[in-house]
């Protein structure tokens, strides 16, 4: 029989539950406060991982899937986290691999247009249509870049990581990351200008 009093004594303290918030939030609070590192990662990076995935994949559903898979993998692998002090590099390393997996699967099955074009049954307001077109344009432009430039640029601009964090994710020096971003911007200018000219 388990000596519950001793077992509980050994369990890390769990933070207070806020009874005014929905139960799933309480559940999450128990989860995250029992593991400070995961708390930190979740609260700091969930939005960024989502934006990174969105920019790389171009649609909400895939971005959500990547975000979920990234954090679930983080929970599974938190015991293997050794890179103390660099949680972003570790977490975005997972996200990067997950996005790469999605891209591989996608190339094998559908074309780019299918990815960025979400069919709508109802007419959409002009703003939404415009936004979607812009998003498609960005995704297409990023996919035309050299992969490491697109990666560095997306992590910097869409995920908001620092140069040092990106260097950790990509296994490159900070100088190399700066250069990748710089060249990515120049390439994007060319690609997007060409895109607009083509559209005109």
């Amino acid at each position: 029989m388990v000596d519950e009093s001793m077992t509980m004594d050994r369990v890390p303290p769990v933070g207070a539950i806020d009874h005014d918030v929905p139960s799933e939030h309480n559940q999450a609070r128990v989860f995250v406060t029992s593991e400070p590192l995961l708390t930190f990662m979740y609260e700091s990076y969930v939005e960024r991982v989502y934006r990174y995935a969105f920019a790389r994949l171009g649609n909400q559903q895939d971005a959500q899937d990547v975000t979920a898979q990234t954090f679930l993998a983080a929970v599974e692998g938190i015991a293997t986290y050794r890179d103390q002090g660099k949680p972003a590099a570790w977490l975005f390393g997972i996200a990067k691999r997950t996005v790469a997996m999605f891209l591989r699967q996608r190339r094998a099955t559908v074309g780019l247009h299918d990815l960025t074009h979400v069919p709508h049954t109802d007419p959409l307001p002009d703003e939404i249509v415009e936004e979607q077109l812009q998003r498609e344009q960005i995704v297409r432009a990023l996919q035309d870049l050299a992969p490491d430039r697109a990666e560095a640029y997306t992590l910097r601009v869409f995920a908001g990581l620092t140069t040092a964090e990106i260097a950790g994710v990509m296994g490159r020096s900070e100088d190399a990351v700066r250069m990748l971003i710089h060249r990515a911007v120049r390439n994007l200018r060319d690609v997007l200008q060409l895109d607009e000219e083509t559209l005109q």
Partner: protein
């Protein structure tokens, strides 16, 4: 990479850093103005890529469930790893006619360990401690008696009161072996006989009992014993365990785990593990202190 390109990259990076962190960013030179415009546009797009609150809430729940399952899974896997060889001992005990229905494996393991130590037999092994004389045997006897009635677990205070001595707890445990405030924290179980207490951690089991006149002698296989030192005191290290498969007679498996027997003041202490190294086992033993 030219010098100018490097400078432009550094300037752009500094501008981006300020822009992303919400600081006032010095305008880029004329050459960089189109770059800034492009990035501003993309930052604006990024700010609109907001996560769906319903998805975020459901992800919270999924992560919470996954985390809980992971903790339980790790607890089970560690417990299984430690138990694997003991299950074989349990098979042996069951084959010997003990009614194990309703009895937790830890109790049976305790009995098996005690039984192997309690059997009175001629002393053949080298005397390591004054009161422990392992006997080398070819096979384990079939009719193994249960030596002690096992009592249910209770809080440590109650167990100590029942046992009549202060329990020994390790101040050192290997990584991922139930240390406080670590991710892998499977907890412990405390099982006790009348005065023999088993403390089970995921990677190691510590048992203790007062040294008595009826010395408990372990039965071991060939070349299974070794003299080691725990905090400068002599200790007996036993490599191996009795195993029985498919109701066959038990045989000695020299790779079945390690048992370390030594004296701590008036207590006979045994620290046993399946997956720890000799050095780790000794380190755990050396860290034992009355709680």
């Amino acid at each position: 990479m030219t010098h100018n390109e490097r400078l432009a990259a550094t300037e752009l990076d500094a501008w981006l850093e300020n822009r992303i962190r919400g600081n006032v960013a010095s305008p880029l030179g004329s050459e960089g103005t189109p770059d800034a415009a492009l990035i501003e546009h993309h930052l604006s797009m990024a700010s609109k890529m907001t996560i769906d609150p319903a998805f975020k809430a459901s992800l919270y729940a999924r992560l919470a469930a996954a985390h809980t399952a992971r903790r339980q899974g790790i607890r089970q896997s560690f417990t299984f790893a430690v138990r694997s060889w003991r299950e074989k001992m349990i098979n042996y005990v069951q084959r010997s006619g003990m009614n194990t229905r309703g009895v937790r494996p830890q109790f049976i393991i305790g009995i098996a360990v005690l039984v192997s130590m309690l059997l009175a037999a001629p002393v053949l092994g080298q005397t390591i401690l004054n009161w422990i004389r392992p006997q080398v045997v070819d096979r384990l006897p079939n009719n193994v008696p249960a030596s002690t009635e096992l009592l249910p677990s209770a809080p440590l205070d109650q167990i100590e009161k029942r046992a009549g001595y202060a329990l020994l707890l390790p101040s050192y445990l290997p990584e991922n072996c139930g240390r406080r405030n670590t991710y892998v924290n499977p907890g412990q179980r405390y099982d006790a006989t009348v005065d023999t207490v088993f403390i089970n951690y995921p990677c190691v089991t510590i048992s203790s009992r007062p040294i008595r006149a009826n010395v408990q002698q372990p039965l071991v296989g060939d070349n299974a014993t070794e003299t080691v030192s725990v905090n400068g005191q002599p200790a007996l290290l036993i490599r191996g365990v009795w195993e029985s498969f498919d109701n066959q007679p038990a045989t000695w498996n020299p790779n079945g785990g390690l048992q370390l027997i030594f004296q701590y003041r008036t207590l006979q202490v045994m620290v046993e593990a399946h997956d720890l190294t000799k050095a780790e086992l000794i380190k755990v033993a050396a860290s034992l202190k009355p709680r």
